[in-house]
Every structure is written in structure tokens, then in C-alpha cells.
């Protein structure tokens, strides 16, 4: 390990919350989030013992995103899209509606092609920039932008399909 590498406890305290926040946004479920983050941290610990890392935050958020998406896909839960989008206000009814909306997004995320789900999560939940995502995945920032566009289009399509079906039923 190089001298400027922080110790493990510092890494966990400094970047663990970022990884947890990312996984939580993807999963919205405490137990699953804990498991995904523990797996991500274990991967990071192995890396820590083996080599130097220049961007622990990026590494941990990417690992947490992967593990969280794995968990999300494994759930196989049904989720029904609400007919119209509620504005996520801070009042109790708005919070409940927002929760439902977030759950719907998660269920749709689990159905996206893997690269799209990965890029979408890293962009919006892990809050990485396109170049950072490109670095993490070994692809160009342009490819990230394309995948992100496709992901948003797919999600919007799923929204429209179910909304139309509900209107017609």
C-alpha cells in the first residue's frame, strides 16, 4: 500500500455512507441495502489489501450499484404503475405517493437491459458524472450518454404503456 492510502476505517467512514446511499436509492429496502453494501465493502476490502486506489468514492459507489442491481433483479416483485405521476411534496400524502412512485421506478429499473440500468443508477442514484461513469465501466462518456438516453426512453415508454392500459380499462 502506498503511504498516501487512507486506512480502511477511514475509507469506510468517509465513503461507506455514499455507497449506502446509492444502494438505498436503488433498493429502498433496509435489509437488501445492508446486504448489497456489505458485499460492496467486502469487494473493496479485498482491493484495499491488494492495491492502491485513487478514487475510493467512485469504486465503492460502482460496486454498491452493481450489488444493489443484482438484488433488485432477484426480487421479482410485481409492481403496478400509478395512473398519473404525483408531485413529490413533503406532506404525508405526497410522501406516500412518492414512495409508490420510487418503487415503480425500481421495478422498471430491474427490467432494463443491464448496461442501461447500470448507467442510469450510477448517474442518478450514485451521482457520478458521465465521464466518471465512463471511467468506471471502461466506456466513453458518449456511450454513457447514449445508454442513459435509451434508459430514460425505455422508462418513459413503460410509463406510457401502463398509463394507456389503465385509461382503457
Amino acid at each position: 500500500l502506498s503511504e498516501r492510502s487512507p486506512d480502511w476505517v477511514t475509507i469506510v467512514r468517509q465513503f461507506g455512507p455514499l455507497a449506502f446511499q446509492t444502494a438505498w436509492r436503488i433498493l429502498g429496502h433496509i435489509q437488501d441495502t445492508e446486504d448489497a453494501v456489505q458485499d460492496a465493502l467486502l469487494e473493496a476490502l479485498r482491493t484495499y489489501r491488494r492495491q492502491s486506489v485513487v478514487n475510493w468514492g467512485g469504486l465503492l459507489r460502482t460496486a454498491a450499484t452493481h450489488r444493489a442491481l443484482d438484488r433488485l433483479r432477484k426480487r421479482r416483485k410485481l409492481s403496478v404503475l400509478p395512473a398519473d405521476a404525483p408531485a413529490p411534496h413533503a406532506d404525508p400524502a405526497g410522501i406516500v405517493a412518492a414512495r409508490e412512485l420510487a418503487d415503480w421506478l425500481r421495478s422498471v429499473l430491474a427490467e432494463l437491459p443491464d448496461r442501461q440500468a447500470e448507467v442510469f443508477s450510477l448517474r442518478y442514484f450514485a451521482e457520478l458524472t458521465n465521464p466518471e461513469i465512463g471511467e468506471a465501466l471502461g466506456i466513453s462518456a458518449e456511450a454513457v450518454a447514449v445508454a442513459l438516453h435509451k434508459a430514460r426512453a425505455n422508462i418513459a415508454t413503460k410509463w406510457s404503456v401502463v398509463n394507456d392500459a389503465q385509461r382503457n380499462s
Binding site: W24, T47, V53, G58, T62, R99
Partner: protein, 472 residues
């Protein structure tokens, strides 16, 4: 649309995608679980440092060698790296690639997934390419036209027999003897005679759907799991969930024996002699899943089985997931019943007395709980003495009386399994692996690996079955 600058600052209230993202970001981070996770992770390194002298001494020796190697690699990388290229090592300064594992691809829906006949050495893959195929072979998706049905008899050969029957498409199940391919609409295709027949008892309303169909051991009955949305409120109610119920149908006559509430996403289990059916259902007050047995054909409740009482782990669950039954099984003589739950617990009871014999809690090699072990597949050995439990690619062999774990396996490289059964001598289990995706072009899979049959004795990792009578 969301701004694509480095940080989100606003969202478009007319864009449903932005609204959904904003909704997910609004949810407060649960502080206690976060603190618990960080505390656990910070302890790992401290435990290693305090407990393993030789590990540290060898570590420094390794580090010295690694430092020399790393310096050499750095120089090499510096020399060969081209400006403008993508640095695939991303966050890592030097040395190996970051080792962030790729996805496990749980849900990419290969089109060649297996259906397995429960009581015959046979399984069907639908669809498949035009020519006979070997178990586990890689096929190109472009070759999956025209769609043909393939049948493997794994007691004989690893090569498939291609049927001259058009693929019926849609969700299907296979009869225990492997003769009938039954669609969820009630349309059955005889794989021997090519006869097509429509069975009665499958009709549902336009607010209902068939989630799963399962044959009884003799093939006399089917259990149809139906999802019912007829009471869905016009106004959004976040607490609302669709109801599930089981319908039991006598296939020959099409007579519906009865319907009763059941848990969604759980496969029921018939006793091998069709004496009863075991299933999970949500309790009225708590919605926690409970396990019960109903006699056939009366469908009278014969017994209920106690699962969680004062089990502490339940307090960690915020949505009853800990109480979510994911699988059920019966022993060959019907005397034992097993049920598996979402977070890795397996219960075994005596069916007649309802006495609980076992509460197994899956653990990883390092002794921590394996909360991924939701055993959807279970199988008792012929004498009921052992239980094989399978959760995706995780496997366990458990002594049903003592609870001793005689075998446990998990590796990310192990395929996921769709079927488990014991060999006649009770020493090994046979496992049918799901199809797996092969290469990708952009985001689209261009090939997939056909299912394969593995054997596992509980000691090493499962190995592909090699001995086939006709091939020898």
C-alpha cells in the same frame, strides 16, 4: 429533463422519469442500518489485524514483491498507454483491474429455459434450434428459427431429440411423466402423440391472471395460482396489494375442487401420492406468510405449521420480507414438510403431528448469515433423512433430524438451478441448470447456453453430469 451537469439541481415536473427519480431521492437514508453497516465493515480489518500474526507477516513479504511488480507494471502502462484512450483501470492507481464484479444477470430471460418432468428422467427446453443439441451447448439466437421443441432424457444421452411439434409459446408447465406440455391457458400438447387438447378449469376474469400452474405428483390435479386485481381501488392506495389464490382442478374432468387464499410467488407442493397439498398463505391481520396443509380432494385444512415465534431477526424487516415464504416441499412418503423463507430460513415439520423438527438458518463460510438463501427449490432424499435446498446458485444439504449441514456451496461462477432431485442411492443430488446468456453485441445477447445437468455430493462444487447410458 434532468440537468446532465455534475449535480442535479432541478427536475421537470412534467417528466414522469424525473418525477420518479426525484421520488427515490426524497427518501431519507435510514441512519441506524447505515451505522450498523459501517460498524461491521470497520471491524473487518481490525479483526484481521488482531487475530492473524502469520497473515500479517506474509502480507508484508507479499507487499514487498507486489511493490516491485507494481513499479514495473506502472512503467509498462506508462509506456504503452495512448493519449485519448479509455483507462479501464479507472479508479485504481496501479496493479490489477478494480475487481468490481460484473452483473450476475439474474433476469435476462434466455429463451431456452428448461421445463422439468418431476417424475421422469426427462426435461424439455422450449424453444431451440433446428438440429439436435448437446446439453450445455452454446447456441446463437439467430439460429433459434424455426422454433423447435427439444427433449433430453438425461438417463440416456446428452443429445436432444427434436420434436416435430410447433412450439406452443407462452408460459407452460410439464406433466410429471413428461408427456404433456400444459399452457397456462389450459391448452395442452401431448409430446408423444402431438395431440392438442384444451383442459377446463383455467378460466379467469379480465382482472385476474394465472401466475403459475403446478401438476400434482400423479398428474391427476393441477394447482393454479391466480393473481386477482378485481378489488384494486380506483384511487391509488400504497397499501393495496393484489390478492392471490390457489385453484385446485381435477384435470380429467375439469372440475374445480375449490379455491382458497394463497401467497403469491410461492410454489405449492403436492404430497407424492396426492394425499394433500402444502401451501403458504398470508395471515389476515399481519399479512405474514403461514404454512398449511389441505387434504385432497376435500381441500379441508388438515394442519397449520408454526414458523416464526420469537425469532429475533424478524425485527430487521420493514416489509414482512422475513415472513415471505419462497418454497415448499414434501418428502417421498408424505411424512415431512419443508418451507423456505426469503432471508434464508428453512423449516421442517412432521406433517401429521405438526411438530417442528428443524429450523435451519443459512450461513456463509465465515459464519455470518446468508440472507440470500431464499430456497425456492427443495427436495427430500428418499428416506426423508436429508434435504437439499437450492437458492439460485446456492446449495445446501441438511440432515433433517439433527439440522447438521453436510454440504454448502456458493460461487458466483456456479449457474442458477431450476430443478433439484436426489439420486436413487441418496448420496448425490442432480441439478438442472437454467439457460445462461452467452455473448453480447451492445446490449443485446447474441447467444445463450442451453441448460445442463449437474451432480453434487455436498463436498466440492457441482460438476456437469458426464455419464449417459446411450453415449457410453
Amino acid at each position: 429533463m434532468m440537468k446532465t451537469s455534475d449535480h442535479r439541481t432541478s427536475y421537470d415536473p412534467h417528466d414522469p422519469v424525473d418525477l420518479a427519480i426525484a421520488a427515490a431521492l426524497l427518501e431519507p437514508i435510514p441512519c441506524e442500518p447505515l451505522a450498523r453497516t459501517l460498524k461491521t465493515a470497520t471491524a473487518w480489518e481490525l479483526e484481521s489485524a488482531g487475530s492473524a500474526g502469520p497473515w500479517w507477516s506474509s502480507r508484508w513479504a507479499t507487499a514487498a514483491i507486489a511493490a516491485s511488480l507494481a513499479a514495473a507494471i506502472l512503467v509498462s502502462i506508462h509506456l504503452v498507454r495512448r493519449p485519448g484512450g479509455v483507462d479501464r483501470q479507472a479508479f485504481v492507481q496501479h496493479g490489477e483491474s478494480p475487481k468490481v464484479q460484473s452483473f450476475t444477470f439474474f433476469e435476462k430471460f434466455p429463451v431456452t429455459n428448461p421445463l422439468v418432468a418431476e417424475r421422469a428422467p426427462i426435461f424439455v427446453v422450449t424453444p431451440g434450434p433446428d438440429q439436435s443439441q448437446t446439453l450445455g451447448a452454446e447456441v446463437l439466437r439467430k439460429d433459434l428459427r424455426p422454433i423447435r421443441l427439444h427433449v433430453w432424457d438425461w438417463s440416456q444421452s446428452k443429445r436432444s431429440r427434436v420434436l416435430d411439434i410447433p412450439d406452443p409459446r407462452g408460459a407452460q408447465t410439464l406433466s410429471p411423466d413428461g408427456r404433456w406440455l400444459l399452457g397456462y391457458s389450459g391448452r395442452g400438447t401431448n409430446l408423444v402423440t402431438a395431440e392438442v387438447r384444451t383442459f377446463d378449469g383455467f378460466a379467469v376474469t379480465n382482472r385476474q391472471g394465472i401466475s403459475h400452474v403446478k401438476y400434482s405428483g400423479s398428474g391427476k390435479y393441477v394447482a393454479i395460482l391466480i393473481v386477482d386485481r378485481s378489488d384494486e381501488p380506483a384511487w391509488k392506495d400504497p397499501a393495496w396489494r393484489p390478492r392471490f389464490f390457489l385453484r385446485i382442478v381435477e384435470l380429467a374432468s375439469g372440475r374445480i375442487l375449490g379455491e382458497f387464499a394463497a401467497a403469491g410467488n410461492v410454489l405449492s407442493a403436492f404430497a407424492p401420492d396426492d394425499a394433500y397439498i402444502v401451501y403458504a398463505f398470508p395471515a389476515e391481520a399481519t399479512r405474514q406468510h403461514r404454512v398449511a396443509r389441505r387434504d385432497l380432494p376435500s381441500l379441508q385444512i388438515a394442519a397449520e405449521y408454526t414458523t416464526y415465534g420469537d425469532v429475533g431477526n424478524a425485527s430487521r424487516s420493514v416489509d414482512n420480507s422475513a415472513f415471505e415464504c419462497v418454497g415448499t416441499a414434501c418428502s417421498a412418503d408424505g411424512s415431512l414438510i419443508a418451507a423456505a423463507f426469503y432471508y434464508g430460513e428453512v423449516f421442517v415439520w412432521e406433517s401429521a403431528s405438526s411438530k417442528r423438527l428443524l429450523q435451519f438458518r443459512a450461513k456463509r463460510d465465515d459464519g455470518t448469515r446468508d440472507t440470500f438463501f431464499g430456497a425456492e427449490l427443495m427436495s427430500f432424499s428418499a428416506d426423508g433423512g436429508r434435504l437439499a435446498a437450492v437458492a439460485g446458485s446456492r446449495l445446501a444439504m441438511i440432515e433433517t433430524r439433527s439440522g447438521e449441514v453436510t454440504g454448502y456451496h456458493y460461487s458466483p461462477s456456479t449457474p442458477e438451478f431450476a430443478h433439484v432431485r436426489w439420486t436413487d442411492d441418496g448420496r448425490r443430488v442432480l441439478l438442472v441448470a437454467r439457460s445462461q446468456l452467452g455473448d453480447f453485441a451492445d446490449d443485446d445477447p447474441v447467444s445463450e447456453f442451453l441448460p445442463n445437468v449437474y451432480e453434487w455430493d455436498g463436498t466440492k462444487e457441482p460438476q456437469p453430469l458426464k455419464a449417459f447410458a446411450a453415449d457410453d
